[in-house]
């Protein structure tokens, strides 16, 4: 095999030149002749009956070509939005989500009418002229109230608001709690978040009648899923549908959904016979693009006085929003890693999905794994506090040792949790910090340090593991084609939106094929030329898609070796392949390069029975999942007078196995950590508790942190190769987000521990912390007085 030259190197991204010069092509950058702009009329209420819709004024407005309501799409769009199994096979109420509301709107932002106009300004004007007679209905917003028996329901006529209720577990949890010296209980809020890719969604679609062909450019993470869903809804054969995700300005899970706007724009193109374009505005995005998190965790941990964890009970309430969205219950992946990095076999995990009158929630960076990590990392700190043990020691005491299978029987590939922890402690200078903290506490200053010894699960998905969970095996595909003069095109089913697949996959192909890096082109995100793939999410692209590239390249090399042997007049077994050169072992001077072999593959004189060309296809189904891990440490100082948090240091030591491009890995970690910090300190979606109307409706009200708020993130790594894929790699796209929020909150709780504060919810905004500090002080004064 070729000596590695590209894999592991810091290669500049080949995506960048067009992006830094303004030559990127995002959907909104494109136009088609004769295209119309679509405007969506949306419900301004959380829950309302639609009495009637009057489109007269809108239809007469300048430039308006058509106004459609639900009835216009009947017969054109079959069925409803699909719901995948995603960790919850039996959903009690997988409420059907129609592409457009007909009689009842169930969240602020749900589409009730569609306007087509020649100019986008005209579409905006006419949208405001559609007159909808809404009758507001009681809105379900609060999760605790939603499960009360007298609660109104999020949909008229359903028995209650429970979408699913499932419990998994193992071991003897009751015995574990009975044996415990201490039991800690905590309710942990996972506030609702906007994913906010900087590019909102956008669709440009053209249906060509008579040809019965549909081409759509859409800002998506999953073009092949979009094609599949449009085929099912519209009855157009897949072969006649082409979906392209051109440059996509971020996703973070928000673009794995196949959205009503995609179906409706496609159908509107068919109805009107014109190309249709829609570009989501930001305030529209905040209503219409799915939200994330919106969960409550009730946890209980049983432990011995010496810090040994004995048992763990979790109840996860997932606010599904108004409908169970396509991958909504992927957020229940929390149960797959409930116990985190700790050897804990007595676990009971209940997950309850609850319908409310809010925008549906779905996967947001990490999807279930940040929540699980936050819960166990907060939980273990609470136990440590309860028994007076250092958070480092309690972690070391309970770390899983390898080989390891978790409470559900998942066998982890590899891991060395102590190694990452040790490195992180050394980087941050843990002992010195504790000393400094002590000295500053004496001066009335509140510094804290927080750990997150995180793990996660990714690489979805081996069909053997996911078979029970998904109707389709989440394999990943590649096709590698060598051209006569020795360049190659690599087609993959993954669909990047900032992750740099064109670079990393070219690195893999260059090394494996022994061709120059610049002779490899990587094509993604166009169903017209790429093999069927499931797209990019869940930190799966390298593990599954990268491995698919590797496997196709190996197949090409195998065939090329046969041909080279023929050219060298040697037997195949005697031919070596090294640095792109085939030669008879012992005679490296008389070599045929891969380029020469590629040329020969297109000429005559092939070995008997060999077809022309050098090309291979792979649908790679990994044998198992991968389990990345690491330790993040955060240092904060809290201003007790104002509740302001000063994020002083952030150290991230991660282990994602073998690294293809360290620069890209670091970038993923830094961006992920920033989103975790954003959740911990800044961001929160708020709906009006009575009406379900969105109160944080613009970026003025929703605090995405900027350059002044995110500190330098000090990154380093340990390397423990995975054994479940030939690259030895594990996912890294979500790691930062999974790890960060508990590191920050644990640091704040550590800082405020002298005040008796044990838990802080997110976002730990100054007003929230100030209130908690006030209450803690009042409580302390109260108990002092009581003792006097």
């Amino acid at each position: 095999m070729a000596v590695t030259t590209m894999i592991g190197a810091k290669i500049h991204r080949r995506e960048d030149p067009r992006l830094i010069t303004g030559r990127g092509r995002y959907v909104d950058d494109m136009k088609l002749n004769g295209m119309l702009h679509v405007g969506f009329v949306r419900s301004p209420y959380g829950h309302a009956r639609i009495r009637s819709i009057d489109v007269t004024d809108a239809a007469k407005a300048p430039g308006v070509v058509a106004v459609y309501t639900a009835r216009d799409f009947e017969g054109l769009l079959q069925g409803e939005m699909p719901v995948t199994i995603s960790f919850v096979p039996d959903k009690k109420q997988p409420i059907g989500w129609a592409f457009i509301a007909k009689d009842e709107a169930r969240y602020h932002g749900e589409i009730v009418a569609v306007v087509l106009a020649r100019e986008k300004s005209q579409a905006a004007d006419a949208t405001a002229l559609v007159s909808v007679d809404f009758e507001p209905l009681p809105a379900v917003v609060d999760l605790d109230k939603a499960v009360e028996s007298k609660s109104p329901t999020a949909h008229t006529g359903i028995p209650d608001n429970v979408a699913w209720d499932m419990t998994v577990g193992a071991g003897d949890v009751d015995a574990a709690f009975a044996d415990a010296d201490v039991v800690v209980k905590q309710r942990i809020l996972q506030q609702r978040l906007f994913p906010i890719a900087m590019e909102g969604r956008a669709v440009l679609v053209e249906y060509v009648p008579f040809d019965n062909r549909l081409t759509m450019w859409t800002s998506s993470q999953v073009p092949h899923w979009v094609r599949l869903c449009l085929t099912l809804a519209m009855g157009i054969p897949e072969s006649n549908i082409r979906i392209v995700a051109p440059d996509v300005g971020g996703g973070f899970g928000s673009k794995i959904h196949i959205y009503p706007e995609e179906y409706l724009a496609a159908a509107a193109s068919k109805l009107s016979g014109r190309p249709i374009k829609w570009t989501e505005g930001r305030s529209e995005n905040l209503q219409a693009t799915h939200h994330g998190r919106a969960q409550i965790f009730d946890i209980e941990i049983a432990a011995k006085k010496d810090g040994t964890l004995l048992g763990y009970k979790v109840r996860q309430y997932v606010d599904t929003g108004a409908y169970v969205s396509v991958f909504s219950s992927f957020q229940c992946s929390a149960y797959a890693i409930a116990e985190g990095a700790y050897d804990l076999k007595n676990v009971k995990f209940q997950t309850v999905g609850i319908l409310t009158n809010t925008t549906p929630t779905d996967a947001y960076r990490g999807a279930g794994r940040p929540e699980a990590t936050h819960a166990i990392e907060r939980g273990i700190d609470l136990v440590a506090r309860e028994i007076g043990m250092d958070p480092v020691e309690i972690r070391r005491k309970n770390f899983s040792k390898f080989p390891h299978s978790n409470y559900l029987g998942f066998a982890y590939d590899t891991g060395d949790y102590d190694k990452a922890l040790t490195k992180a402690l050394a980087t941050v200078g843990y002992d010195a910090f504790r000393q400094q903290q002590k000295e500053l506490r004496a001066k009335g200053r509140y510094l804290g340090i927080g750990l997150s010894t995180w793990i996660e699960v990714c690489g979805f998905g081996p069909s053997a593991v996911t078979a029970a969970n998904e109707p389709l095996a989440l394999v990943e595909s590649s096709s590698v084609r060598l051209h006569p003069t020795g360049s190659a095109t690599v087609y993959v089913g993954t669909s990047p939106h900032g992750q740099g697949h064109a670079t990393t996959f070219a690195q893999i192909a260059a090394d494996t094929l022994g061709l120059p890096y610049d002779a490899i082109d990587v094509r993604t995100s166009d169903t017209g030329d790429t093999p069927f793939g499931y797209g990019t999410y869940g930190s799966r692209s390298l593990h599954v898609g990268g491995s698919a590239v590797l496997m196709s390249c190996r197949k090409v090399v195998d065939k090329a070796r046969k041909l080279a042997a023929h050219m060298l007049e040697a037997s195949e077994e005697d031919v070596a392949f090294d640095q792109g050169r085939f030669y008879v072992k012992g005679s490296p001077d008389k070599a045929k390069t891969m380029g020469e072999v590629a040329f020969a593959a297109h000429r005559d004189n092939l070995p008997e029975g060999m077809e022309h060309g050098l090309e291979a296809v792979t649908y790679y189904d990994p044998p198992d999942l991968s389990w990345p891990f690491g330790t993040h440490i955060c240092v904060v100082e809290v201003d007790p007078e104002t509740g302001a948090v000063d994020l002083q240091r952030y150290v991230a030591i991660d282990d994602c196995g073998n690294v293809i491009n360290p620069m890209i890995v670091e970038g993923q970690v830094q961006g992920g950590v920033a989103q975790g910090i954003a959740q911990a300190l800044f961001e929160e979606v708020i709906h009006d508790a009575e009406t379900g109307q969105l109160r944080t409706g613009t970026l003025l009200d929703y605090s995405i942190p900027g350059t002044g708020e995110i500190p330098v993130i000090e990154c380093d790594r340990t390397i423990t190769p995975s054994t479940t894929n030939p690259l030895g790699a594990k996912g890294i796209g979500e790691a930062g987000t999974i790890a960060a929020s508990p590191a920050v909150i644990n640091a704040i709780c550590d800082a405020l521990s002298p005040l008796g504060i044990k838990h802080v919810d997110m976002p730990a905004s100054p007003d929230r912390l100030w209130k908690q500090i006030q209450e803690a002080r009042a409580h302390a004064n109260g108990s002092k007085e009581a003792h006097q």
């Binding site: 905006a124 405001a128 800044f682 944080t696 942190p705 002044g708 708020e709 905004s765």
Partner: protein, 268 residues
């Protein structure tokens, strides 16, 4: 998002602008920096029938020394105030306030006259204007700051009246403005200003009511010799702020006290 349609006219003099406003009638608005107005128009929360663009009126962009006063043309951009040597020397608190408004791009466009006329309780200049007894000059009259900021987004400006100038007294003694916010580019959750002037203190507060607030009780306490910490306890006297997504009324009142104390202590 695209604003609703409107008429647009460019004025090259204040007289012309005033005439245009009269012609267009009640629903016309003046377009200066546009950084409060245009976002509202994009969200269609504001739908003026017409905009009168005054950005072309060259003689409204100036900073002039006038004895014990500093005169700011209404179109003076935040960036100009932030970097002005004269302001840094004669009224340094205003240069510091300007440097903390929004971000570079906002400061390149936003104007002092626009902030005054918009009369947002979260605006920073109005606090300084009120506490220093600045004057707002229009094409029709001169209005004392205390009479100008009447209510939330409400001023005594007539429909065809245009702010042309803000007049501040020179004040280069110890001073501090603390703008408490979660992100650098945010509006103040609460802001507190302290300025030593003519031997006494002027104390102003941002975003603790429907208008900027001058904390006279704090000023008096300091005058009577109270320590900053004691005096600052009066910062919330009479305040009745409304809560919002970022802060409860209690928290705002608390911040008023804490930030006032810090502003006085840190004034340099």
């Amino acid at each position: 998002m695209i604003p609703a349609a409107f008429e647009y006219a460019r004025a090259s003099s204040v007289e012309e602008a005033s005439k245009l406003l009269k012609t267009f009638g009640e629903d016309a608005k003046v377009l200066a920096g546009g950084h409060s107005l245009i976002p509202l128009m994009r969200l269609r929360l504001a739908q003026p029938k017409a905009l009168v663009d005054i950005n072309g009126i060259k003689d409204l962009d100036y900073i002039k020394e006038d004895g014990s006063k500093l005169r700011f043309g209404a179109l003076t951009r935040h960036v100009t105030i932030e970097n002005s040597a004269v302001v840094k020397q004669k009224l340094p608190i205003l240069a510091e306030v300007a440097s903390e408004i929004g971000d570079n791009q906002v400061r390149n466009m936003g104007t002092i006259g626009g902030v005054a006329a918009h009369a947002d309780a979260a605006g920073d200049y109005p606090t300084i204007a009120l506490m220093l007894d600045a004057e707002i000059v229009t094409n029709q009259r001169t209005i004392a700051a205390k009479d100008f900021f009447k209510d939330l987004f409400t001023t005594p400006l007539a429909a065809d009246e245009i702010v042309t100038e803000l007049v501040f007294p020179v004040a280069n003694g110890p001073h501090k403005y603390i703008k408490f916010r979660r992100r650098l580019f945010d509006w103040a959750i609460v802001g507190a200003a302290a300025q030593k002037m003519n031997g006494g203190w002027r104390i102003g507060l941002t975003n603790v009511g429907t208008t900027p607030v001058r904390a006279t009780a704090v000023e008096e306490a300091l005058h009577k010799g109270a320590k900053p910490e004691e005096a600052a306890q009066h910062a919330s006297d009479g305040l009745n702020p409304s809560g919002d997504l970022r802060a409860s009324p209690e928290y705002k009142k608390h911040l008023a006290r804490v930030l006032t104390k810090r502003a006085i202590e840190q004034a340099g």
